[in-house]
Amino acid sequence: MARDPKKKKLTVDQKRYTELVRDTVPRPRYGKNALLAFFFGGLIALIGQGFIDFYRFTLDMDVKEAASPAVATMIFIAALLTGLGLFDKIARVAGAGVSVPVTGFANSLASAALEFKREGLVFGVGSKMFILAGSVITFGVVTAFVIGLIYAIFIF
């Protein structure tokens, strides 16, 4: 029997099985997850806002300037919690509530750097640090480049 390379589309069996799985496997607790994410995301926003006001007054900055040290502080806290082994425990409950804010970004860098330290500073910490966060940086920069280009050429 000759080889049939065309077996690419979902077969009838596969479609039927996908339906069976959908019926058998439970859905995530949509409501509970959404509410927890909302609560924790809001909480982190509050804490961040608190730091913004703190730096405004102690470092005599305006609102826009104070955002930078506030973000850096949140990043520090998230990295520390990652090192202490607490961040993943919080994330199990909070879900996107801690991964959507910059705390998630910090955790992805810190957890990767921490995990791959066994592979040494160069192969491990240095390179693999960006395994999870890299896409965020890449897409942010590319987006900003395209939009900046549009502004430079068409608007200014």
Binding site: S111, T143, A152
Partner: protein, 119 residues
């Protein structure tokens, strides 16, 4: 100090996080996909001038989510582009985000040096 901003911060920060959670639960996209999407979204809203206004009235609620990173990159690129054209796009991009990126890399590095993964 305006207390109003804290209420909006909570609501907007919460809403953005909830949006992320709903996408994770309802689709097959991974956290990496969702966060990349947020950054691109923040960048586009920044380019349209919407995100800076969001930051003005929601404060931390808009500047804490990762979408603000996209906005900051865009704002940096645009403000230098106004002065130096296309080259300015590249020189100005990390102006506003360098604190965050530097902090993230440096703290991650030191955490890796000091702590050990617990599994």
């Amino acid at each position: 100090m305006e207390w109003q901003i804290y209420i909006w911060a909570f609501l907007v920060g919460g809403a953005l996080a909830m949006l992320g959670q709903l996408i994770l639960d309802f689709t097959n996209y991974s956290p990496g996909h969702v966060l990349s999407g947020f950054v691109v979204g923040g960048g586009i809203l920044g380019g349209l001038g919407i995100y800076p206004r969001l930051i003005e009235f929601a404060g931390g609620g808009a500047s804490m989510p990762i979408s603000s990173f996209g906005n900051a990159l865009v704002q940096g690129a645009i403000s230098e582009a106004e002065r130096n054209g296309v080259i300015g796009v590249m020189t100005g991009m990390f102006e506003l985000t360098s604190t965050g990126i530097t902090a993230a890399i440096v703290f991650a590095f030191f955490v890796a040096l000091i702590f050990n993964p617990k599994g």
